[in-house]
Amino acid sequence: MTPRVTLTGVTFTYPGGVRPAVRGLSMEVAAGEIVAVAGAAGAGASTLLLVATGLAPRLVGGSLAGERAIGARRSGIVFARPWTQLTGLCSTVRDEVAFGPAAAGRPLAEVAAAASRALHRLGIAHLAERDPAHLSGGELQRVVVAAALALEPELLALDDPAAELDPTAADALYALMPSLAADGAAVLLATPDVERAARVATRALVLEEGVIVADGRPGDVLPPTEVGALARAAGCPAPYPLDVPALLGRLTPDAGRRAHDTTDGPPAGSGPSTSGTAR
């Protein structure tokens, strides 16, 4: 598969930083992959996203060493705080979502279609005529994700994208990711929500003090959840299930499917949910 971004021995230091925020990063993210990036606060997950999307050091400042090749022609990024990502110039959600395609100078019909697709994918078409300034944090976060999707990015970086969402909306957002990957996007997901990340990620990286210390299947490398610890204690073979549906699925496939149906809300997008797949 085509690599959307390739980093080889990349080290990045913020302006005025005493030591690098990330060191010696070597990784590749291909089209169709969902790569979860986990690590404690300050481990460098957000910085990795900025580096991978080309925003650091171009806009952030600082210095970058090593080799970076960005194959994605269009990138999107979503941060945890949605209100900082609004243009502040749009009076409706539809215009806010359409901002990116319009900035690219695409014909109006195409812009409208891209915005409409993104709104429907996030399940927020009913908010289209609302003023973004009057939305709740959760609604706003979905608007911001829709705005990123309207760009039809080949590389989508999500920095704790469910921070403002309630559990149902968070499940729906994560359930959307496989369909984005199926469309050919590479998804880079930095999140402390290991359980949800493990459901959708095809690969996971673990960072410690700016260094990748593990890179592999989510069930193998992500920090154990309480369910995972229980499974390990109960003598389950690795990779350990990270959430209840996965644990039940391991024990009895039917129970796993039922648990998945009851724990997951209706998916916002058209994409299939991979929640509850046995690991």
Binding site: L50, T53, L55, L59, V60, S75, G76, I77, F79, R81, W83, T84, Q85, L86, T87, G88, L89, C90, S91, D95, A98, F99, G100, P101, A102, A103, A104, G105, R106, P107, L108, V111, V144, A147, A148, L151
Partner: protein, 253 residues
């Protein structure tokens, strides 16, 4: 009232360039006028503009608050300390030419502030951006202008949130002027630092969404313009030019 106030007045519905042209014409005309009577006619024009926009009462109140310190300063500088001849008004001996001068300068400030506030209250930043985009103005320029128009209401909103949070932690806002001044610290620091931090993230988000691409943006919903509005804008320009012509002709004479 500082910032956009949603409404359906003729000024709200007008092309943003028309509303801004009216405010700009008021500003330039105010500097062209040298007589108290003509300057105060402009203040009335500013009030009429605010009434047309449906914001006369809040506009006049804010204009009064903003221009009051200027009026007090002018009264002291020109009215009390101005040149002879003087006239007795109660216990005060006021300078007659000084008061005339103060009326001209104060009237100018009031007319300009009223016009500016009205334009701010009736020009939707979104419609202004769309109008500028439709004319092919670069995003950086439209963003700069629209951000300038929205910065005060945004800061005021943020300041209110910070004040509420600080009051929950025991900050007292009442008391002596010194105590009030001390209360500024817990407000100003988070206000400025928070705004700077958010700007950083907004720059990244806007860049990824192509704001800095430099190409021509597609206008999504450009506000309609009309021949009468275009004629009005040209007429205002002609009026301002005529006012300055008259001013210089009189100065030469």
């Amino acid at each position: 009232m500082i910032g956009y106030v949603a409404g359906r007045s003729p000024l709200h519905r007008a092309h943003p360039y028309t509303t801004l042209s009216l405010a700009a014409a008021l500003l330039f005309a105010a500097f062209a006028m040298t007589e108290p009577l003509t300057v105060w006619l402009l203040v009335l024009a500013g009030a009429a503009l605010a009434a047309t926009g449906g914001v006369l009462r809040p506009g006049a109140r804010t204009a009064l608050v903003v221009s009051l310190p200027v009026w007090i300063l002018l009264f002291v500088l020109y009215g009390l300390l101005g040149a002879a001849p003087r006239a007795a008004v109660g216990p005060l001996q006021l300078s007659v030419p000084g008061i005339e001068r103060a009326l001209v300068l104060g009237g100018r400030v009031t007319a300009i502030v009223l016009g500016f506030l009205t334009a701010l209250a009736t020009t939707s930043p979104h419609r202004l951006v769309e109008a500028m985009t439709a004319r092919g103005v670069s995003f950086s320029r439209t963003f700069l202008l629209a951000s300038t128009l929205t910065v005060l209401p945004r800061l005021r909103e943020r300041a209110a949130r910070i004040l509420e949070a600080q009051q929950c932690r025991g900050l007292r806002l009442g008391g002596s002027p010194l105590a009030r001044l001390r209360a500024l610290g817990p407000l100003a620091l988070p206000l400025i630092l928070g705004a700077l931090a958010e700007v950083d993230e907004q720059v990244l988000a806007l860049d990824v969404r192509g704001a800095a691409a430099g190409g021509r943006r597609t206008p999504l919903d450009p506000p309609p313009d009309s021949p009468p509005q275009r004629a009005l804008r040209w007429g205002l320009l002609a009026l301002v030019v005529a006012a300055y012509g008259w001013k210089f002709w009189r100065m030469r004479g």
